[in-house]
C-alpha cells in the first residue's frame, strides 16, 4: 500500500507507550459513533499506477500546436530559466514567510515583484498578489468604496468573466453596477460615461486593452473621472504595459490585472496571478500581504511582511479583505519572467504581439467577406466579422490542429496573436480560412 508516512510497527508501539495508550484507535476514543463505516473511495493506485492513470487523463486533452485564442489567458513563450528556478523546492515547499529570519529569500522576491509591478504600472505600492485578474478587479473596487456612495461604473469592454466575479463580490456589499457601452471604434463611450457618472459613483472601471483587444483612450477617461471627483481603477494586461501609457499616466488610482501572461502556462485557467497596485494614499486600504524593507538588529538590510494591521489575522471582521494564502508562487514566476525578459525583452514581447497581430489582421481582412468589427487601434487581439460562420471557421481550424479564436457571435470571432505565433503559422491559418470559404 502506498503511503507517505515513515512509521514502522515498532515506532508505533514505542510512541503509543510514551503517549500512554495501547492502540492508535484509542486516539479516537469516544468518537466511535461519528466514524464513517465505509466511504466510497477507491483503494490506492500507488505511485506507479497513479502516474499511468493521470498520464492517460492528460492525453485526453487536446494540445494544439498553434493557438490563436486569448480572451483572458495568453500563450506566451516561457523561458526555461523561469520554470527551472521556480521549481526550486525551497520556494515551492515553504509557506507564507511568517518567520522573516529564515524566509529572506521569499520576502526579497516578493519585494522585487512589488517593485516590478509598481514600475510597470507607475504606481507607488503593490501587494504580494491576489487570486486572479478578476478578483483583483473586484477587491480593487472594494478598496475604493466611499461612505454614502454605492455605485460603480463598469466598462462593457471588460472581460465578461471578470464581470461575473465582480458582480458576486459587489452584490455582497450592496454596491450597484452600471454599465458603460462601447462606441463604434470599440472604445468605451466617453459620452455615455459623462452621462452616467453621478454623485453616487465612487469608482469607474476600465480594461486596457479591452476584452475586444481595442486600446482604450484611458487618459481621456481618467480626466473625466477626476473632474467628477470619482476614483479610477484599471484592469490591464501587464505585457501591454511595457508599451502603453501607465495607469498612473492615465490618472488611475488603482491598477489591477491578470499576471498570467508573465510566465505562467495556460493550465486550463489556473493557477494565475492577480496583481493590485495603487497610489500612496490607498496604502492603508490595500488588501493582502505586503513586504517592506527594514533592517535587522545589527543594521543589516532585511525584508518583512508589513502594515499587517489591515489584515484578517489582526483585524478579523474589520480587515480590508479575508485573503490569507495568495498566489505567491505565481508571483515568483512573474518576477523571474520579468527579470529574464528584462527592460528590453518585455518591450520586445509587447511590440512583437502588436506587429504580429496587425500582420494577421491585415491578411484576414484582405480575404473576401472578412472585416474588422472595430476601427480602434488594437494591441494583440481583434474582432473579425466574416460572411462564413464562426462555427465553420473554428471547425476548419481544428482539423488542421489550430485553436481558433473565441466565438463571440454567429459571424464574429475574437482572434489573439502573441510572439509565439510564427509567420508560417499565420499564413497557414489564412490558407485554412481560404479553403473554408
Amino acid at each position: 500500500m502506498a503511503k507517505y508516512y515513515p512509521h514502522t510497527e515498532s515506532d508505533i508501539k514505542q510512541m503509543l507507550s510514551v503517549i500512554g495508550i495501547d492502540s492508535v484507535d484509542s486516539l479516537y476514543a469516544g468518537l466511535e459513533e461519528l466514524k464513517a463505516e465505509d466511504i466510497d473511495l477507491a483503494e490506492g493506485m500507488g505511485q506507479q499506477g497513479c502516474e499511468r492513470y493521470i498520464d492517460k487523463l492528460s492525453k485526453q486533452n487536446k494540445v494544439y500546436s498553434s493557438i490563436f485564442l486569448g480572451a483572458g489567458a495568453y500563450n506566451h513563450y516561457i523561458p526555461a530559466v523561469v520554470r527551472n528556478l521556480a521549481g526550486r523546492e525551497e520556494f515551492l515547499t515553504a509557506y507564507t514567510p511568517y518567520q522573516p529570519e529564515i524566509s529572506q529569500g521569499i520576502l526579497q522576491t516578493i519585494f522585487e515583484y512589488q517593485t516590478m509591478i509598481c514600475n510597470l504600472c507607475g504606481m507607488d505600492l503593490s501587494n504580494a498578489s491576489v487570486y486572479d485578474g478578476a478578483t483583483a478587479l473586484a477587491e480593487g473596487l472594494l478598496m475604493l468604496a466611499e461612505k454614502g456612495k454605492n455605485k460603480v461604473l463598469f466598462s462593457e469592454g471588460i472581460n465578461p468573466k471578470y464581470l461575473e466575479v465582480v458582480k458576486t463580490y459587489l452584490r455582497a456589499q450592496n454596491v450597484e453596477i452600471e454599465y458603460v457601452g462601447l462606441d463604434g471604434s470599440g472604445k468605451t463611450s466617453i459620452e455615455e460615461l459623462k452621462r452616467k457618472l453621478d454623485q453616487n459613483t465612487f469608482a469607474v472601471a476600465l480594461a486596457q486593452p479591452n476584452f475586444y483587444g481595442v486600446i482604450e483612450d484611458a487618459q481621456a477617461v481618467g480626466e473625466i473621472v477626476k473632474q467628477r471627483g470619482a476614483n479610477y481603477i484599471m484592469s490591464c494586461n501587464p505585457i501591454s504595459l511595457a508599451l502603453l501609457k501607465t495607469p498612473d499616466e492615465c490618472g488611475a488610482d488603482v491598477a489591477t490585472g491578470e499576471g498570467q501572461p508573465l510566465g505562467m502556462p495556460l493550465s486550463f485557467g489556473g493557477p494565475y496571478l492577480g496583481f493590485i497596485a495603487a497610489k500612496q494614499k490607498y496604502m492603508r486600504k490595500m488588501v493582502g500581504r505586503i513586504v517592506g524593507k527594514t533592517t535587522d538588529s545589527k543594521g543589516k538590510e532585511a525584508y518583512v511582511l508589513t502594515l499587517q494591521a489591515r489584515e484578517q489575522h489582526i483585524r478579523r471582521e474589520k480587515a480590508s479583505s479575508s485573503i490569507c494564502s495568495n498566489q505567491a508562487h505565481c508571483a515568483l514566476m512573474a518576477t523571474l519572467y520579468m527579470a529574464a525578459m528584462g527592460k528590453k525583452g518585455m518591450k520586445e514581447v509587447a511590440s512583437q504581439c502588436v506587429s504580429k497581430a496587425h500582420y494577421l489582421a491585415k491578411k484576414m481582412t484582405a480575404l473576401e467577406g472578412f472585416e474588422l468589427k472595430y476601427g480602434g487601434e488594437f494591441f494583440n487581439e481583434f474582432v473579425i466579422r466574416s460572411k462564413i460562420s464562426s462555427d465553420k471557421i473554428i471547425a476548419a481550424c481544428r482539423e488542421k490542429d489550430i485553436l481558433a479564436g473565441l466565438k463571440l457571435g454567429e459571424n464574429e470571432i475574437l482572434w489573439c496573436v502573441t510572439e509565439t505565433n510564427s509567420v508560417e503559422d499565420m499564413d497557414k491559418l489564412i490558407e485554412v480560412l481560404k479553403e473554408a470559404m
Binding site: K35, A339, A340
Partner: protein
Amino acid sequence: MTIFELSKSGRTACPLQKRDVEEYKLDPKFLREADAMLPEVDELTLVRHYTALSKKAFGVDDGFYPLGSCTMKYNPKINEAAAALSGFTNIHPLQDQTQGALRLMWELSRDLCAITGMDMFTLQPAAGAHGEFTALLMIKAYHNSRNDHKRNKVIAPDSAHGTNPASAAMAGFEIINIPSSSDGLADLEALEKAVGEDTAAFMLTNPNTLGIFDKNIKKIADIVHKAGGLLYYDGANLNPIMGIIRPGDMGFDVVHLNLHKTFSAPHGGGGPGSGPVGCKKLLAEFLPWPTVEEDNGVYRFSKPHKSIGSVKAFYGNFLVLVKAFAYIKTLGKDGIRNSAKMSALNANYLMARLKEYFPCHSQDICMHEFVISCEELKQRTGVSALDLAKAMQDKGMHPPTMYFPLIVKEALMFEPTETESKETLDNAADIIIELCHEALNNPQSFHEKPLTTPIGRPDEVKAARFPILKG
C-alpha cells in the same frame, strides 16, 4: 542586493526570436513616456541571484516545519510531475476537447464528497479564505431564497481563524464572536444565547484550533439547526480525521477544504492554494458556476440554477487540483485513513514529550496539533513564545505557529503532520526541552537569537512606520 542593483544597462537574458513580420507602430498618443524600469541582467546573473535567494528560504524539503494550522506535510514529487504534464499545462481554459481535465475535476469532486460526506463540490475557490467567502454567499442565497431575510449574522468562536470573521464581513454579514468554554471548546450556553432568528450560520472547525475534537458536535448542530441557521465547517483541520469522521456526518451543511494543506499540494511560499467548497443537497443549487457534471461518460460544465455567480475567472487553480488528485489516487481509502491516524499519533507523541515542560491546552489526547503556553515560562524567565520560536531557527527547525489561537496566552501551536518520523519528532522535542532549560538558566541569551540565520531579528516597527515597499 536586489535584482535591480545587479542590473547593467543593455544586458538581457531575453531568449526571444527576432520579429518575423513587418513592425507595426502604435499611435504614439497611447505609448508610455519612459520604458518601465525592469531588471537588466544576463541569464547566469539571474540564475545565481535567485538560487542564492532560494537558499535563504526554508521549505518542508529543508527540515521539520510544524507550523500549526497549516499542515506542512511532505509534498510528494509525483504530484509535481503530474501537474507538469503537457496535457494539463498547455490547454486553454476556453478550448474544446478537454475531457481528461473535466473528468479529473469531476472525479476529484466525487472523492472529496466521499471524504467529507457532502453531496456536491465546487473546485473554483483559490484558497481557504476564498472558499469561506463562497460558502457564506451560498448560505446567504439559501436564506434569501426562502424569503428569510433577517438572517444577517454569522457566529464564530473566539478561537476561530481570522479569515472566518473577515470572510463573513466580505459576504455582508455581521459577526458575533462567542467565547470558548474554559476547556477551549465551543461554549454551548453561549451558543444557545447567541443563536436566533437572525442567525445565518455558525462557523466552526473540528478538531478546533487547539487541536481538540469537540465531542459536542451533534448538540452544536442541533442548536444551530433548531434556530434555523446552517453549520459551516472550516476544513483547515481535516487532516487527522480525513476519511474517518466526516463533516457531513457530524451535521455540517457546508465545508471548505484546503487542498494545499490536507491534500499535500505545496504551499508555494504562500500559495497558490485551493479551497474547494462542498455542500449538502440543500445548498447545491447555489454553488458558483461553472460546476462539472457527468452524463454517460461525457463531462461538461454547467451552471447551478440559483448560482451565486462566479468567484474566479475560470475553474479554479487547476494545477493544484491535479496535485491533490494525484495524492488521493495514490493513497486511496486506506492510505488516506492511515495518514490521518499517523498525523494524530505524531501530534500526541510530540505533545507527550513536551507536556511536563509546558502547560498544554489540548486536553489529554489531541488530534493533529496541540497548543502549549509559554506564559509561565515568560513570567519566570522573561523568555516569550517569540523568543523560543526564534531560538528554534538556530537549531534547524521551522518554528511552530505563534500567538494563535488568540485564546491562549503566549501560544505555540505544533502540527507535526504524519510524514515526519519518530526520529525527527524526538530531535525536535530534545531541542525544545534543551531550550526550556536554557531559558531557566540563561534567559538573556534569547534576546539575541537567532544567531545563525541570514539576518537577525528585523525591526518590524520601523518597517511599518517608515514603509519602504519597493526598491
